[in-house]
């Protein structure tokens, strides 16, 4: 489903949100999978589809394309003073991060298949840019000054 198509369907669903049919719920689940690479939460919660719709609508307002990078669960990415999990990772952060640490693809459950193909004007050769991020974080843990957490907290 293309981004614009999702946008149009979100608009159609606005008027039906108080009484969703089975087909509407399936559509919400499909859009949710397109955007967040996962299904709507499987629970008996009464408002789960309405909540999911609002998540979709919020995403569509704040973004202009679908995400293409997703982390595995449990992974945190430390980048540029921020902490990112699957909940707040953006494609921009993921791209910069993997350019610097191309060997860390094992932390990702999904990324564009052609990400490491050399593009004109860009140097994505893993051999030239590989850096041991673990070493950097080990140094932080060994010699750290206590952080308050405010610097790293990402909304």
């Amino acid at each position: 489903m293309e981004f614009q198509e999702i946008k149009d369907k979100v608009k159609d669903l606005e008027s039906k949100i108080e009484k969703l049919s089975k087909e509407d719920k399936e559509l919400i689940n499909e859009m949710y999978q397109e955007l967040f690479n996962t299904s709507v939460k499987n629970c008996n919660c009464r408002n789960v589809y309405v909540d999911s719709f609002f998540q979709i609508r919020k995403y569509m307002k704040e973004n202009d394309k679908k995400r293409t990078f997703f982390l595995k669960n449990g992974v945190l990415v430390h980048w540029n003073g921020g902490i990112y999990s699957n909940l707040n990772l953006t494609d921009e952060v993921a791209t910069d991060y993997l350019k610097k640490y191309p060997s860390n693809t094992q932390d990702f459950s999904k990324y564009p298949a052609d990400f490491f193909e050399e593009k004109e004007g860009e140097d994505l050769d893993p051999k030239t840019d590989a850096v041991d991020e673990k070493t950097d974080k080990d140094e932080d843990l060994d010699t750290k000054t206590k952080k308050t957490g405010k610097d790293n907290k990402k909304k």
């Binding site: 595995k72 449990g74 992974v75 094992q106 080990d138």
Partner: protein, 197 residues
Amino acid sequence: MELCDKIISQDFGVDCDNLPVQGINQTGVIINWDDIDWTATKAKRVGTNVYSGIVLNTGKKGYKIKQIGRKPFNNTNSAAEVGDSITRFGKNVSFIMMENSATISTQVDSLSNGMFVIVLENLYRGADESAAFEIYGIEASMRMSEGSKESYNEDSNGAWVITMQEQKAALASVFLFDTDYTTSKAAFDAITAAPAT
């Protein structure tokens, strides 16, 4: 040949600003052993007994264990198992299944024969906050050692009471810690986020 004997390397002091407090937070996490990406998780090991993250295989997630009451995860403990040649550690995590249904009952079946890793949040974080999130079972897995359901039990009110146990672990305690409490909490929460498909 080097020995594995450890030597003491620091004082056992008293930090009057951070005295121990008892208790565990009401929400823990349980992870199926086979759902863990062990290669990626081992790469997150940042010390003998510290992991900065537990990475799950694509499409997998951890599951929350929610407790209520004054003593969530009551009877959770660790103890040395002293041997003639080597001392190991046994660890127990005990919880009450707060829901009952046919579906929950199948989860009890899974617990009875499966292998798991559990992460709990200690109320006592330690001065550097590294002791907040404790991992159980990452060495030898947690397996059910007790499971019971009594309709007129005063504490459990008929719910399943489960004890999961790790036997003969080499390490007294293992922690999930990354930089500070806030970051470690993010790593803890990231385990149970909805999985990527």
